[in-house]
Symmetry: C2
Subunit: 363 residues, 2 copies
């Protein structure tokens, strides 16, 4: 397979911060980017060669977009499957329809992981209140009687979820999700959460960063730290799990796998078929950033080194955290990344800041 | 002075690789960039929010540009002084008219440096063949009878220069420069060439990278290496020279000063009132890149740390050096930067590659 030559154009579905950072990583490799999505104006458009503002289901717009690019990727896994399917007949799309179909649906995703031999928390499909009662009876005892009811699709940052315990009113919980096809997951009292970001090239080569320790606040990622403080056996096991999933998906690009840590066991929480918030530290903290690595992978270039450049911490700037920007800019070693979003809203990811302690600073 | 708030727009005169890398450094700080210049299409436009393709002397275009931006900077010191003067009445311009006027003219520049106490090679103004004969008589003996005749304006990468020795036909040399106002500089048999890249903030704070060792090939920068292998006294002296010049110019932004090294003496060769090719390594090799530092300085933000992240080498990709890209991409630690130029021409800067050896790798 011939790599995409310099001067080529990469189409990106979604124009948020991930598309923005992908576009900035593509430019030094000689590529131009064309952003496609409904948001007007898209933050990624500020650093992209071209922008199309259109609905994901607008076939005329999709067709023109496909004609203007050499390859398509995405920053957002909830692009309608039909849009990706339509594009994939016109232009190479990475990651492809299979990876998206698997990761868009929590039930399909968990079935897939278990089939690959990557364990998850216990779970059951819930399509009715009776299903929910049966699922609680089955999963409750295994997990100390706490469980989480989640919609199968479109959930993120804690949206579309209800935590249940023995006191919960199941009818009320089921109504809260408005009858959407759902899944009940046993709540695991985990020791911590890590993610593994793995890259797989068009030639099948695979590489990963060391596991990343993630802390959430109000269901939104707050900090990512790497190394994660795992021992070598744990780290290898976490990476092997993510790598197995990438291979089984026949994946091309960067895949993020979120894992619950319970002792030496890693349970797959969810997968994101794209660059991931927990990998933003890699811009300064790794030899090759997740954004460059994704571009390399989908364009058929060799993968870069995913070695660390030090001990790294990334902190998200959510909502009015962005008011801390003057203090952050005054810290000589702080790397600020704002996303070019005009409007500050509670819970909105406005930017992040990364700190790298290099070898000589590490105590 | 209040910093430019996030969301602000920076106007950049010139749309080449320097404008491109400035635009990519402005985005993480929350700024948008508007590129102005005659080149169509400008490589910087691929990663900028807005582009105006117009002549530097088109006043209507300049006025609209000024109205669309909060501040103006430049990637190219040979912007006509009139354009900068015109803009400076409409919008803050950094670096300003004084810095440009000083560095656009080799004679003014050398007078300025000597007045600041920064020595240069011996030189004399040449406006006629008689001037040239007189200058040779004066400078020749001091410098082993070799000297370089250069146009005062618009020279770069060895263009507009003639090397003279005792055998040279002076009339022919003078004719080669077509009667342009010129300067004769004594040719110093230097030990090496270094550059110092210094940043000065709107608040007067000053910071610099360690001196950079530069090697040229065919009068074009080939490699930059840092640290430069100077001893501590030499390094301090070189930095002090550059800092003195920045302060005396009342400079705001990043200033590059090229120096000839002869023992413990540093002679100012030339100054560039902008980010500089010899600082491209700083994207990966320093805590804050020269591009981010320039944006910080002109926008009134605090300067970032200019500490090294390792031993660094940058190599330019000139003309068909760009054919080496597949091999470069296959080196896991090589950082490739292509400039998005469609046409490969001999002597054209197509990109660069940077290697960083971190502390643990340095032997």
């Amino acid at each position: 397979m011939t790599p995409l030559p310099p001067g080529g154009c990469i189409g990106i579905l979604g124009g948020g911060q991930l598309g923005r950072m992908l576009s900035m990583a593509a430019a030094p490799l000689g590529y131009r980017c064309h952003i496609f999505g409904p948001e007007d104006p898209p933050p990624a458009g500020q650093v992209a060669d071209r922008v199309t503002i259109a609905d994901y289901l607008d076939r005329d717009a999709l067709r023109s977009f496909a004609e203007s690019v050499d390859i398509v990727t995405l920053e957002f896994e909830n692009v309608p499957a039909g849009a990706l399917e339509f594009l994939s007949h016109l232009v190479p799309v990475h990651p492809g329809v299979k990876a998206l179909a698997t990761t868009q649906d929590r039930l399909v995703e968990k079935d897939f992981a278990n089939n690959v031999g990557a364990p998850t928390a216990p779970y059951a499909a819930v399509d009715s209140l009776d299903d929910l009662r049966a699922a609680i009876a089955k999963i409750g005892p295994e997990t100390g009687s706490r469980a989480v009811l989640k919609t199968r699709r479109m959930g993120y940052d804690g949206k579309g979820q209800v935590m249940l315990d023995q006191e919960s009113d199941l009818a009320q919980a089921w109504n809260a999700l408005a009858g959407a096809p759902s899944i009940l997951e046993g709540y695991i009292p985990f020791d911590g959460e890590v993610s593994v970001i793995v890259a797989r090239g068009l030639d099948g080569s695979v590489s990963a960063y060391p596991p990343i320790a993630n802390r959430h606040k109000n269901h939104i990622l707050d900090t990512s730290t790497v190394p994660a403080g795992l021992n070598a056996i744990q780290a290898n096991r976490a990476i092997a799990t993510a790598t197995d999933l990438a291979i089984a998906l026949d994946y091309v690009g960067v895949l993020a796998v979120e894992l619950f840590v319970t002792g030496d066991t890693f349970l797959v929480n969810e997968m994101a078929p794209r660059v991931h918030n927990s990998g933003h530290w890699s811009i300064e903290g790794a030899v090759t950033s997740q954004f460059e690595q994704h571009i390399r992978a989908i364009c058929g270039l060799p993968l870069g080194s995913m070695a660390l450049r030090g001990q790294v911490e990334m902190r998200n700037l959510i909502g009015d955290d962005v008011d801390q920007v003057p203090e952050i800019l005054a810290e000589p070693g702080a790397h600020l990344h704002l996303y070019g979003k005009a409007e500050v809203r509670a819970g909105r990811k406005m930017g992040h800041v990364t700190y790298v302690k290099d070898g000589s600073d590490i105590t």
